[in-house]
Amino acid sequence: MKDKNKHIGMHLGTLGVLLGMLLTSAAVQAEPVPLEERLLLCGGCHNPDGNSVIPENPKLSAMNAKYLQRQMEDFKAGKRTNPIMDSIIPMVDESEFKALAKYFSEQKRLVGAPAADPSAPAVADASAPAAAGAMSEQAKADLVAKGQQIYLEGVLATAAPACGGCHGEDGSGNDKFPRLNGQNQTYVVSQLANFKSGARTNDPKGVMRAVAKRLTEEEMAAVAEYIFTLKEAE
């Protein structure tokens, strides 16, 4: 319950930032917007260091800069849609995308749930309880193990390819295939579901849609749980 309140608070904070930007954007349009100011806008949902603590929103930290820029361009062009991003992206000029992408690409990816105290530095701790609710430790360990199997081996019965083939066994990705390690589970599940249903179609060449169509909801949940714990090779 306490967690939920925190999230609502964050959403309200984001809304405030959003409204503020709406009111001022017209006046400052000609001036280049300082990065610090932009981080207030993006950081509301994605955290200023790109390690979003809201399970629905993706971590942007350490993502490939080219990949991030392409996603912003796709949101701008309506090739990728999301109710929140659709209202934010018109405020950001296309000329700012490159610098924003570079900034987030240079942030350290934190793996695991964030620290409870927002003023304390977030620590990488895969064993910390996530937002998944009342799942027992054993049930979660089983899910992670199942997810690892899918991530590294794929699903032979449905010919679903292993995620690690393209995204890297440590999930580090590249400019074509996004970084996955430590990504928020709820976000990963939502994107897999969107690819499967065809709600998201900006995967180059439709490859991710073909993959997601071969995964069940249970398999998506398992692989997302594994990705959340996945640490990049040192």
Partner: protein, 241 residues
């Protein structure tokens, strides 16, 4: 009046027939369908062969294939995905372009090689790259050693005419290396060729294995799965491209 009506009806029917013929012409001709010509060169295959391939670029393009065929190109021992390691580039180019053209029926692989999932140029690059690979992983074999029976069937039915004495295939003629392949993959593909559902079957091979029982197919597959990669056999001679 009646005559006019019949002329109109005949005209309509012939029009419909023309449309059917036109639609048929755009559909790929597969094994068992009228007009199928085995190993007929498609424009894309001709173009890829002419372009050649760059194994360095192919390594990057192959990333999109690794989820199934694995980083060493050796697929999985269960045979769901074949071992492509060291396969002749000409064979890989034939198979990929024919899957893309709908001549080899492979709905599981199609989304990942369909234009534009990979470009025409990437086909040649991937093929060149796979040809250079080696693997340390063992391939899948039959549950028990049936290679004596398999060898006899292979030789009695002159399978070596196309696939070579050591199962090394023939790069110049795009006949695949079948040695060191996964047992289950060999059984599955032979079964599909025999049933005529692979799409791009060689009619001569369909005939050659027409009388093979399931046990015969398994014996041949087991024999081939126990033969080494042709490159270790012909190491003294330059490896076929």
């Amino acid at each position: 009046m009646k005559k006019l009506l019949s002329i109109v009806i005949v005209a309509l029917f012939s029009l419909q027939a023309a449309v059917v013929v036109a639609a048929d012409a755009s559909k790929p001709k597969v094994y068992g369908k009228k007009g199928y010509v085995w190993d007929e060169m498609t424009p894309e295959r001709t173009a890829v062969l002419k372009m050649g391939g760059d194994p360095v670029k192919g390594k990057e393009s192959f990333r999109g294939c690794q989820g199934c065929h694995k980083a060493d190109g050796a697929g999985v021992r269960e045979g769901v995905y074949p071992r492509l390691t060291g396969q002749h580039a000409s064979v890989l180019i034939k198979q990929i372009t024919e899957i893309r053209a709908g001549i080899r029926l492979n709905p599981k692989m199609l989304p990942f090689v369909e234009d534009p999932a990979i470009s025409m140029e990437e086909i040649g690059d991937i093929a060149a790259y796979l040809n250079t690979l080696t693997t340390v992983r063992e391939n899948g074999k039959g549950a028990e050693d049936m290679s004596a029976k398999g060898k006899k069937l292979f030789n009695d039915n002159k399978c070596f005419t196309c696939h070579g004495k050591n199962g090394e295939g023939d790069a110049a003629k795009s006949y695949p290396m079948v040695s060191a392949q996964h047992f289950d993959y060999l059984v599955r593909e032979m079964k599909w060729i025999k049933q005529g559902v692979r799409g791009n079957s060689n009619p001569d091979m369909v005939k050659a294995i027409a009388k093979f029982s399931q046990a015969d197919l398994e014996a041949v597959a087991d024999y081939l799965s126990r033969l080494p990669d042709y490159r270790t056999v012909t190491a003294a001679a330059p490896a076929a491209k």
